[in-house]
Each structure stands twice: as structure tokens, then as C-alpha cells.
Amino acid sequence: MIGYIGKRMIAIIPIVFIATLVTFGLIHISPVDPAEAYLTAAHIYPTPELLAEKRHEFGLDRPLFTQYVDTLKRIAQLDFGTSYLTNKPVIDEVMDKFPATAELALWSIIFSALVSIPLGILAAVYKNSWIDMVSRAISYFGASIPQFWLGYLLIFFFAVKLDWLPVEGRGSWENLVLPTLTLSMVMIALYTRMLRTSVLEQLQESYVQYARTRGIRERVIMLKHVLKIAITPFITGMGMTMGRLLTGTIIVEQVFSWPGFGRYFVEAIFNRDIPVIQCYVFISACLFIVCNLIVDLVQLYMDPRISAKGRAEH
């Protein structure tokens, strides 16, 4: 088991290597010079003299290969340098932003699971009943409404009109409600339908018929047998979403002034803040790999058939 995890963790190295290479390439293909972007953002006219000085300060006047090797060396030592924009160590800023994003991601996942698991099951069990209709309506709504618009609508009704919740910012649990709801909507839409389909599929299986014949109660069949298998694709989906959420939810963070990772990254892109972009790519790659690994481990736990296969490999 430990060996398996270890092996998966080692896979981070080539993936991160490729990710940094691609990022480095893309940044340098872009026609925007980071020194120029810095000066433009500062409202200073980029005179040639000033540009040369900034390029030198950022180390952009060195050969590309040297720049790349330096970047790799630094990343290998987990040193991400200082932000061009703020002149502060990138890692400090990231550590400052990440908790906000993690908080939002975690609550959104928990809330989506709490809503979509019962709703998905009920929609399958009471197929074509009113509850199925409701779940379908929620799914259509959630899947088709643009996230920023939903955010504005929620703010308008719950913060401005009803005055129940704050418009924006981070701090108390009240600040969490609207962004969590906005983020969860699309997940609830997706996962409710997903779960409904897989529960319906399982209900057609012969083992359910046998269980019924044996006189086992419906509730037991559902909770002990059907759900255990039907929930696997749901867990996979959730795990992948977690990876995505942890790297920042740009739109929601923007709409709700949430001081998270996504907002930080977008600003870095506009300012061509290379050290920040590189750090972000590194962390994102690691997060995706770790989330994938967790998904696999959960599946291993949930479904013995996969675990047997997994063991056979090692």
C-alpha cells in the first residue's frame, strides 16, 4: 500500500517537470513582456531605460535556457522566489491565499454531497414522482445558469433585498453561505443526475432481484448493497472536482471578493508575474495528483474488485 502511494507520489516529478516546461514556454511565447506589464500596471511610462532596468531586476535579460534551468533548480528546492508585483516571497502569499480557497472548496463539496446524495437516491427510488421532477428541475437550472449570474442573483435577493447575508468578503460563517451555494449548484446538478442513473442501473441488476426474493427489506438492499456500488462514480467525480476547486474558483472568488488562490492567479496572469504563475502551476499539478490518488484510494476501499487488482499489480 505504502509502496503504491510512494510510486504515485514519485509520478509528481515528471508531471511537474512537463507542467513547468509548458508554462515557461507559453509565458515566453506571449508577446507581453513582464517588465512592460509591471510598468503599465504601475502607471509608469515604460521608457527603454526603465524597461532594461526592470528586465535586469527580474532576470529576464539572461538567456532563456539559463532562466529555465534556474527556475527548475529553485522549484526543486521549493523556492518560488518573490512576486514581481508585491516584492514579497511567493510562497508566503500563496500560504495566505490557499486556506481561503480550501475553506470554500471543502464546504462546497460537503454541501453538494449532503444535497445530491439523498436527492439522487430519492429521484431513482421514486422515479418519475414529484421528487424526481424537482431534482430534474434543479439539475437543469444548475447546469445551465452561468455561475457569475447566479452569484449576482443570490447577492441581490439574500444580501440586498432580504438583508440576511453579507454581499462579499470573508470572515464569519455568513460570508460562506452564498459563495458555497453558488459553487455547489453546478455540482449538485451534475451529481444528482449521476447518482440517479447509477442507482437505477444497479436496481436492474440480478443481485437486487435475488435479495428481494430472499425477503430482504428494500431499505437494507438500498443502503447495504446498491448504494455501495452506485456511489463509486460519484466519489470519482467529487474527487476530481475537489482538485479543481482547490486550485481556485476564479469566478466565484471574483464575484464575492473572496481572497483566494484563483483571484491571486488571475491577477498574476494579467501582470505576467512569472514566479507566481510558476508556483501556481506547481501547486495545481501536485493538488491534482494528490486528489486523484485520494480518489483511487477511496475506490480501493469501496470496491474490493479494484483493490484485488491493485494488489495484484504490486
Binding site: 500500500m1 505504502i2 502511494i5 508577446p31 507581453v32 513582456d33 512592460e36 506589464a37 509591471y38 510598468l39 503599465t40 500596471a41 504601475a42 502607471h43 509608469i44 511610462y45 515604460p46 521608457t47 527603454p48 531605460e49 526603465l50 532596468e53 508585483l85 516584492n87 502569499e93 490557499f98 486556506p99 481561503a100 480550501a102 475553506e103 471543502l106 449576482y152 447577492i155 441581490f156 444580501a159 440586498v160 438583508d163 453579507p166 454581499v167 462579499e168 468578503g169 470573508r170 470572515g171 464569519s172 471574483q254 464575484v255 471578493s257 481572497p259 483571484r263 491571486y264 501582470n271 505576467r272 494528490v290 485520494i294 484510494l297 480501493l300 476501499y301 474490493p304 483493490s307 494488489r311
Partner: protein
Amino acid sequence: MLGQQHKRSTTLMMVTTLLLLLFIVGCSNKESSSASSSASGDQASSAKSITMSWPRDIGTMNPHTYNPSQLFAQSMIYEPLISYQKDGKLEPALAESWTISDDGKVYTFKLRQGVKFSDGTPFNAEIVKKNFDSIMKNKKTHSWLGIIGVLDKIEVVDDRTFRMTLTEPYYPVLQDLSVVRPFRFLGAAGFPDDGDTSKGIKEPVGTGPWMLADYKQDEYAVFKRNPNYWGTAPAFDQITVKIIPDAETRVLAFEKGDLDLIYGEGVISLDAFQQLRENDKYVSELSDPVGTRDLLLNSSNPKLSDVRVRKALQQGFNKKAMVEGVTSGLEEPADTALSKNYPYTDVDLKPIEYNVEQSKALLDEAGWKMPAGGTVREKDGQKLEFELIFDKTDPIQKAMGETIQAEWSELGVKVNLTGLELTVQIKRLKANDFDLYFWYNYGAPYDPHSFINVVASPGFGISETLTALPMKKELDEQVHAALSSTDEKKRQELYTSILTTLQEQSAIVPISYVKKTAVYQKKIAKFVFPANRDENPFVGMQLSNP
């Protein structure tokens, strides 16, 4: 058995991961909730405080550096020697008075007595010199500012007297000293040990009316009154700046009453401004022009080198209708490249009026004829076709570009629109690689001298745009003479001549005057737009009695 062990270790892994995540979240939560409660606890609820929003974090509050510090916030803490007021009047700030030698090279400042920094330390010639020295250590960074190139010597004459010597006369020295950065003053306690502020400061200590009391990056900043402030104390105790990057959210927060003021340029959408303006619950105001939106017609392009073509293009679109239609009255149609509220610009210039017939006649006269059955004019087998580059994130530029494209197509002129990222756009301006370009002047206190400076100095893209003007050399000489002139009357004459030439040559087409907007709750009884484009709007602000 193996399976069981397997399951157990997997469960352990998952639980640990979850706990770790919750731990990270929990730790940060405590810290941010305590901080934000202090920010929100003091906000709008108190009658003696103001809450406003700003799109970006206020930054490091270093008076001598640029990014990411926001100008308005720097101007709350730090003060200049001289302050720029309405219509370009220069008034004493930290300098009580000043004298200029006859040759225009020596400036002697008498410093205001009794001024203290927010930490109680005295403001004197010594600390002025310390600040100047630190600024001049990074001369290159500030090279965009004219004074940097001519500043030769800085001396402390006595505790209250400070002297500056220039290498050559340069009249806008005083204007340059009134800008928000870099010539403002940090107290001794803020200086790093090596005295070089370019790498950072220890703490933001200034002489201004406000002090930074609480700050959380990307979330909020709280300013409290400086108890040692020498001038008239502000009419309220506290200003909270909430960082709200999204324009629509800003409006919603304002409607809810979380914000007392939305202020700035382009901080809310045109639609939102209209909607708030029509609501009696709020007050909305527009400032005097803070800058001009111009369209550059690049004369170095052979097709645009003929003044008749440039004039025809300026006459060929309905500017008034376009500006009013696109900006819903937020901007004002402009007839001259500089508005008249700067020094030396109140000059009688003849506007180039909208006249399609005359425009067509001018194009015919210049040899650009419409081919039979064609839609685009031609001359010597070349089509009258241009590329207009614009900032793709600016909806106003895009809408104006489309209007101009449509109106000029009626004349037989084809315009191709290219939306670019701002940095790329500026790069193409500097490389003189464009036909048509939306350009803005710098505003007060930088203009009119910065405007005429870029007309003559290469490297900014403007001088290059004007290269085909037959009197370009003469124009450049006039600019240099105006900048170094010590005679007020002669300077005015030179400005009049420069502005008249530019108006007649129609290479810098004035489109509209850009204005600042302010929308505020009725709790604010009096609001005054600052004359200096970059200053904060809290000077002169009064609150209504609760």
C-alpha cells in the same frame, strides 16, 4: 486479513488528509475572522466613519515606489512640498513658500513650521534630504518624471530651509513635486537600515491626515486620523477601504448600504452608474475633465501623411452622438486635445466640426476616389484602409471603434478593428506600428507639460506619430523652449502656438473628456473631487449630522 489491513490504512490516509485540510482552514479562519470583525465592526455603522471600495489591494504604502501601491492611499498618508489645486494653482503644502532664482536653476523652499510625522517626530530639511537621497538612488526607476533628469544638487540650508539646484531650467519642477510619487516624505522610523526605500520600508509613517491602522491584503484597509496632523483635521475619524474587485458586486454592496462611496475612473459600469444616478436615495457626481480620450492618426503612415485625409477623417464622424451614445453622458465630447482646466491651455482653438460633405470633398481633393461600383476609396491602386487597435478589455473603446468603422465606411474608408491586450497595445504605440490608436493624455498635475514633452521626445510613440507634420522640427523647438522658459508670458505664447498647430494638423483627434465618477450615500454632505487626478477624495469631505 490483508484486505482488512488495506482498508484500515486507506481510511487512515483519508481521515488524515481531511483533518489536515480542516486544520489549515481552521487556523486561517480564526485569524481572518478576528481581523475582519474589527474592520466590519467599525464600519458604516459608525456615523463618523466612511467605507469605500477599491478594485485592488492598496499595496505596500511605500511613498517612493509604484506597484502595487495605490495612489489614492499613498496620498492619504504622505504629503508633497507643494500641492496642485484647481486650474493648476500651486499651493503651499509641506513647503510654506519657495523662491526661484532668475536663471530658473535654484529652488529654495521654506518648510512649514511645527509639522510632525504621525509618530511624533519632527518634519525638517534633514528628513526632506533623506527622502530625496533615497529617491535619487533609484533615479532610473523615476526617469519618467522630468525633474529627475535635471536635478543636480540637494542641500540642507538650515532646519527649515531646503535648496535644490538644477542642471538646466525646467519650469514644471513644482508640478513634478506635487505628484503622488515619488516626491513625498517618509518619517525616519520608516526607513530601512541602509536608507534605500526601493526595497521596502519598515512602516508607513507620514505627515498626512491619515494613518494606516489595520490592513489585510486583498480584503480591507482601515485608516485612522493622524493625531499629529498640522492641517485642518478631517471631519470624520475613520476610513475603511474594502477591496472589491468586481464592479457589479461593488454596486450591490453600495445598494445594501455596506459602502458609503464609490469613487474613481471606470469603477462601475455605465449601466450601473445610470441606474444609481436615477435613484433619489443616492447622490452621483461627475468631475471636471481629468484627461482626454484622443484618436491618434499616425502621420508616418503614407496614407495619413496628408493633412487633408486626417481632417477628412476627423470631420467624417459624429463625435457628439458617438460620445453621448457610448458613454451615456459619462464623458463629454472634446474639441481640443487638452481640456481648458490646465495651466496655459485656455487657448482659443477652432474646433474641427462634423461635416460629411466636406469630408468627402477633402478625400476627393487628396486623390482618394471611389472606384465605380466600389465601396472603398482608392489611389494609385491602393485602398484607403486602416487598422484601429484598441484595448480589448475596454468596452468604450470597442464601441467607439465600431461606430467610427461604420461612419467612415460611408465615406469610403475601411477600418479593421483589432482588440489587443493593453501591454501589447502600448508596445505597438512605442514601436510606431499602428495606423489608428486610442490614446489618453496624463491629466493633472502631469499636463500640459508631459503632453508637449511627448509631442517632441521620441520613445513614447506620439512624436513618431507626428513625424510627417511639415512643421515638426519647429514644433519640437517650441516645446523645448516652453519647458525651459523662465518667462511666464513667453511660455504662454509657445503653448498657444503648439496647441494651435496640433489642432490644425488633426493627427491627435480629440474624442472625449474623461471624468471621474462619485456615487455616495446621503450620509456624505459634501464631496469635492481632487484637482490632482491621483489624490484621495477625502479632503473637504463633510458628513451630514446624524
